[in-house]
Symmetry: C2
Subunit: 356 residues, 2 copies
């Protein structure tokens, strides 16, 4: 199962509605540009790699309706405006545009769908490679702590729900499970949207032992010596190794450093913004106050309900991401191996991006 598949009739994509997980496993069919843009905006699909792949498919669907240059421009502008932080969105749209613009309008839709499919398979391969690179890290740590499961802490959801298969931060965990390295995962709840419950659902499906904690618990966990390694994803990595990820990540990184625990971000090259000199160049999305004040879940009668935890007039600020400085990272796990979190480290693995 993947969180996004092409419909069998080829005229739509079907997504797993992540706004309804873990309560309901519901697939939603998206046929139009507007439906795809709305699904990204409302986070029915989420996770930087999946946002990129979804946008690529959305562009292909849009070109079925209007393959002209004007149609192409309208579609890319609409999709690009959905979310500002994940650079995979821009990366996917740039790559799709480069592929389809040179060809006649009549051929664009089919070409676009093929290109989107190729990108999806490349992303899957990248996640699998990230899993192998991260597995080496976990193996080394497990060898130094024999006799008990390795305790991994993760923030937000960077599993297969956020990509297509394996995930980024969770790919090494799934690979560890596959090869018999015992792992237990501490899962941050990840307020305001609670993506930790998605991670718990994913890990539960895969039979990986895990425990959810409030985001506030990280200081206690580290002080008690209950965390061996931190693995998180990334929504955008700057050229110097600064990592922008779900809000709260930088606090975990500070606590990890204080405890001497290695902290890794895992991300494919599609999440690196080669034009961003450092984290300060990355726009931080501000989202609606209702993400904090309104909570959805299952009521006593089993039906889905929504409630307010605060009166509507309460002032709220809701940044969706933060930047973890490169200096706090032990490394960035990529599809080409583990890079030091620095321009030099990324250059070693991706020299073509640093060509003069």
């Amino acid at each position: 199962v993947r969180p996004l598949v092409l419909a069998t009739d080829g005229r739509a994509v079907e997504i797993l509605d992540q706004a309804r997980l873990p309560h309901e496993v519901a697939r939603v069919r998206l046929e139009s540009l507007e439906q795809v843009a709305n699904a990204i905006r409302t986070m029915q699909v989420r996770g930087a790699p999946l946002i990129g792949i979804t946008a690529a498919h959305g562009l292909a669907l849009a070109l079925r309706a209007d393959p002209t240059d004007a149609g192409l421009e309208h579609a890319t502008a609409t999709l690009a405006a959905t979310r500002p932080t994940a650079v995979n969105l821009r990366w996917a749209l740039d790559r799709m545009t480069a592929a389809v613009r040179p060809v006649p309008a009549a051929e664009r839709a089919a070409l676009a769908m093929a290109e989107a499919g190729r990108m999806a398979e490349e992303e899957v391969a990248a996640c699998r490679a990230i899993g192998d690179a991260g597995l080496a890290v976990l193996r080394a740590l497990a060898a130094s702590r024999p006799g008990r499961p390795l305790d991994v802490l993760t923030h937000c959801n960077a599993g297969w729900l956020a990509t297509l298969e394996y995930g980024t931060a969770l790919a090494p965990v799934y690979r560890a499970r596959e090869v018999g390295v015992d792992v237990h995962v501490w899962v941050d709840e990840t307020r305001p949207r609670g993506q930790g419950w998605l991670t718990a659902w994913e890990l539960g499906q895969a039979g990986v032992p895990h425990t959810v904690v409030a985001d506030t618990a990280a200081g206690w966990l580290f002080r008690e010596g209950l965390v061996d390694v931190v693995l998180v994803g990334a929504d955008r990595v700057a050229r110097n190794g600064d990592v922008c990820n779900k809000v709260g990540t930088s606090l975990v990184a500070l606590a990890a450093r204080e405890a001497g625990v290695p902290f890794y971000a895992a991300a494919p090259a599609s999440s690196v913004d080669w034009a961003a000199a450092d984290g300060s160049a990355i726009p931080i999305e501000q989202r609606d106050a209702t993400e904090l004040t309104c909570i959805r879940g299952r009521g006593a009668d089993g039906r889905m309900v929504q409630l307010r935890v605060a009166p509507p007039e309460v002032a709220v600020m809701n940044p969706a991401f933060d930047v973890t400085p490169a200096a706090l990272l032990a490394g960035i796990v990529t599809e080409r191996g583990v890079a030091r979190a620095s321009a030099g480290g990324l250059r070693t693995l991706f020299p073509e991006r640093f060509a003069p």
Copy 2:
């Protein structure tokens, strides 16, 4: 208004039910030892100083029913077992026991109620003095940042709801408001129980500008330079200045240090555990998983409802407190002034506690 008052008939206390705030302002009458113990355990009353004062009144009520030595012992044991971390509970019970044990059983109840009342008034005076000591800190910071409100960040609720009047961390904020120093407060939501919504309600009632953020947002706030000073309360301060406070506090302290922002805990002497050499001696309460998975609030029809954000089988760990090492504190604001967070600092203000 206070969160705890003696009933006019003298046979009960009336509390503001903090489990129902900010949705409902409801008073609850507590007449028996069991009712008082349950109110503390379920956090209908909460906040270290208020827990102490409530326990003192609970003991007085218990002695009305059974003033014998056995009754006294049963009551203190019952109340002491309600919550493990706030040292005010033990402090209050020790002081009450010392007062009533020497006198004949028939006189104990009246004496106990008088002593509990005295403790309440002393606690109010201590909070007011903490407010004045902290006000001097805020004034100095405001003077160095003229032309805009001083941005204070707080975690959990350490206002009058957690004490009786003024509060501890919020006492300097209320005093600043009284004397015309412009202050804006960033309020951490404080998962899992969301005491930030109590703080927002308190500040709103007092007309103090404030904005609620998810606990995960602190890293972003500090990095953006939006915080001038951190003020938090304390559930137990160790002799060396380590501060145990609501879970998540230590993460805020790390982020504050990283940003060069001063971090203060505010607490009366009744919150200092003079027998605890350092933070490792302080027991950390583990609370029920449902605090994370079940959320109460107001439904669309205006009625109070409860929902689950995760399936009941999800594994959860829920520590209620954490320890912030003394080295991360700029000082501890007490009723005798601002102490350096160290044994030497506390000794300077409380020499009688360090007598050989």
